[in-house]
């Protein structure tokens, strides 16, 4: 029997005034999968995820979560999904334990706040007022809240934006636990590293459209130009390479990248570098990474942020 997808989106569109925030996106997420929407700020990630959560209405297309229309089904859906809005905030003064009891009461569920806090590794701050929690602790409380109703699908909208590396890793650990528990996770992020670490599949968004989708390996091989040679050298070397070979080379800031179509390109490149008589050092050959693909697809100006390590 074919598996029913947890999330199914096709031809989804949403416009704010003149801006087409989501422009005909289509994708589906299988049950138990961790799926990441990756893109620069303003690419339409949050709008897409909020439509799926039932927080925004779509203009056209279809969006189904667990077979339900998110905007129409309301609580039918909400009792089966967990959500942390971007930049999650709560009332200033309740403690995490109180917040969880409250949330449980709203859902009519008897919850054990301490057990939930242990699961998100927040049991050390269970009695601290929300306003005094650190950014990472707030995010973790958001995750614990989203788990109160034991959801099948969890939506995390930029869960680690603005967190320090240690807090980010702690959040990642919780996301991995969610996957181990068999939950479907949809995650938006503008950190490449986060998508690579967590996601089974990634969709890269730009201007409301999905420009690449698949596992990171699939995206790298499909959209990457294969091997590239990177060498440190000046403008004289770049000029020589462009004039004396038919290789595609790009450079700047003392680093030159030569795109290799096959092995003979590599030999030609090496020969030309040697013949140029220009100074060079640190020559490496590597495959395109997700970052290379991302920059190629989204553009250098895509305000991409690399994970801070």
């Amino acid at each position: 029997m074919a598996q029913v997808p947890a999330i199914e989106v096709s031809g989804l569109k949403k416009k704010y005034g003149d801006i087409q925030a989501v422009d005909g996106t289509s994708f589906s997420v299988d049950e138990g999968e961790v799926f990441s929407l990756l893109g620069p700020n303003g690419a339409g990630k949050t709008t897409t995820i909020e439509i799926l959560e039932g927080l925004r209405n779509k203009d056209s297309g279809t969006a189904k979560v667990l077979g339900l229309d998110p905007w129409e089904s309301g609580y039918e859906l909400h009792k089966r999904i967990g959500v942390i809005p971007q930049g999650f905030k709560f009332l200033d003064y309740p403690t995490p334990r109180e917040a969880l009891s409250y949330y449980g009461a709203l859902f009519g569920r008897k919850v054990d706040p301490d057990e939930l806090l242990r699961r998100v590794i927040l049991d050390d701050a269970s009695n601290v007022w929300f306003q005094n929690l650190s950014g990472g602790q707030k995010q973790k409380l958001g995750m614990a809240l989203s788990l109160v109703n034991d959801p099948q699908v969890v939506f995390l909208d930029e869960p680690t934006t603005g967190l320090d590396p240690q807090a980010r890793r702690a959040v990642w650990e919780v996301v991995r636990k969610l996957k181990d528990e068999g939950r479907t996770v949809m995650l938006t992020t503008h950190y490449l590293e986060e998508a690579e670490e967590l996601a089974d599949r990634v969709a890269i968004m730009k201007h409301g459209k999905i420009v690449a989708m698949g596992t990171t390996a699939e995206i790298e091989s499909k959209f990457g130009s294969g091997q590239r040679m990177v060498v440190k050298g000046g403008d004289d070397l770049l000029k020589y390479l462009r004039e004396s070979t038919r290789l595609h080379a790009e450079g700047g800031a003392g680093s030159i990248t030569i795109f290799l179509r096959d092995k003979s390109d590599a030999m030609v490149a090496l020969g030309a570098i040697e013949e140029s008589g220009a100074a060079w050092e640190d020559l490496t050959v590597r495959r395109d990474s997700l970052e290379d693909v991302f920059l190629k697809l989204v553009g250098e100006g895509g305000s991409i942020e690399k994970g801070v390590e």
Binding site: Y93, Y102, A105
Partner: protein, 374 residues
């Protein structure tokens, strides 16, 4: 999804806890009302906090009446001191109608020395001074105590040494009310307006900014349950404010308050209306700045023109016209009717007006405030 009492109570509990832990919430619920009543009570009670004036009319032409008055003055004349409690004796011309004079001064304490006082005293006959007072007033009790003391002294040193001078007590309850009597209902109305309005306008924008509404929209909590829990909370804080202000008004400034169920009705209707109005203002405003401007535009005229600090009847006619379209007027007018005059007939109309607009504004607030966006 139907209404759930337990969800509403859960929401009330967490909101209440949060409010009490916040310094602003604590201040506006418990401290601010006391500051207000102390401030305005002190400004308008004219000098000494619990000094009361005793009017004395001397019909006696002989020397004994004058001696009696100087004896009164020597025991208790504090007219000149600006601080502290005490009695201030003020002479009243003998040709005036004393009862009318007392009520024209909104006073209830006074002493009349009869025309034949010297004659009777010197000839050893029994004679009575008349003491006016309000039996329920502590000031009146002090006055009659002092008069009794002076009378005793006269009886000891009189011509016969027997019980010669007596006291005829008379009840005088002033039909004119003191400023403090209007101030308590006015400030209760003020508290019922400002605390919920500012809180709700603020909540409507910060909850939207912080996506708390989005978070709540993903739970079974309904907008009606959420808004009702806020109303219940502010009914509670307004009741606390009322008790604090009434206590300060009565004990520090001698305000007269008739306690009855009518007060309770207004203490519920007022916050019901202003919580709904604050939420409506916040919901129809697109930005926090706009919400704050609209909130102030709605709040400030009501704060000053609805009889909060001055009775509406003392304002010029055109301002009275404006007052009558301000919802807070009906709360304060109603509170005045039940707390001061015990006039329920007039208060029923105020209750009906408040209930009517409250239901409408509550429905509009629930209708217009959105958890989520299109």
């Amino acid at each position: 999804m139907g209404f759930s009492l337990s969800r509403m109570v859960s929401d009330l509990k967490i909101y209440g806890k949060s409010s009490l832990r916040s310094r602003e919430g604590f201040f506006f619920t418990l401290v601010f009302p006391i500051i207000l009543i102390l401030l305005f009570g002190a400004i308008f009670s004219g000098g000494g906090a619990s000094q009361s004036t005793v009017y004395v009319q001397n019909h006696d032409t002989g020397p004994v009446g004058a001696t009696f008055i100087s004896a009164l003055n020597s025991t208790s004349n504090y007219c000149s001191t600006s601080s502290g409690a005490g009695l201030c004796m003020r002479p009243v011309p003998a040709d005036l109608n004393f009862s009318q004079y007392l009520s024209s001064k909104s006073a209830s304490d006074g002493i009349i020395i009869p025309a034949n006082f010297s004659l009777a005293f010197e000839s050893g006959q029994k004679v009575n001074v008349t003491v006016f007072g309000n039996p329920s007033s502590t000031a009146s009790a002090v006055v009659s105590g002092i008069v009794a003391e002076v009378v005793n002294g006269f009886n000891l040193h009189g011509a016969t040494g027997v019980h010669q001078v007596g006291i005829t007590p008379r009840t005088a309850v002033s039909s004119n009310y003191k400023y403090i009597d209007f101030l308590v209902p006015g400030l209760v109305g003020f508290a019922a307006l400002t605390s919920p309005m500012f809180a709700m306008v603020n909540i409507s924008s910060t909850y939207r900014r912080d996506k708390v509404f989005k978070l709540l929209s993903l739970t079974p909590l309904t907008k009606t349950e959420w808004l009702l829990s806020k109303i219940i909370w502010y009914v509670g804080t307004t009741a606390v404010s009322f008790m604090l202000m009434a206590a300060v008004g009565v004990y520090a400034f001698g305000a007269h308050i008739a306690l009855n169920w009518g007060i309770g009705i207004f203490l519920v209707l007022g916050p019901f209306f202003f919580v709904s109005l604050g939420m409506l203002v916040g919901s129809v405003s697109n930005t926090p700045e706009a919400a704050s401007v609209v909130g102030n535009l709605v709040t400030f005229p009501m704060m000053f023109l609805s009889g909060t600090f001055f009775p509406v009847s003392s304002m010029p006619k055109y301002l009275q016209g404006i007052a009558h379209v301000l919802p807070l007027y009906y709360m304060i007018d109603g509170l005045n009717e039940v707390m001061i005059y015990g006039n329920f007939g007039a208060a029923y109309f105020d209750m009906a007006v408040l209930l009517g607009i409250s239901v409408v504004v509550f429905a509009l607030a629930v209708r217009f405030f959105r958890w989520r966006e299109d």
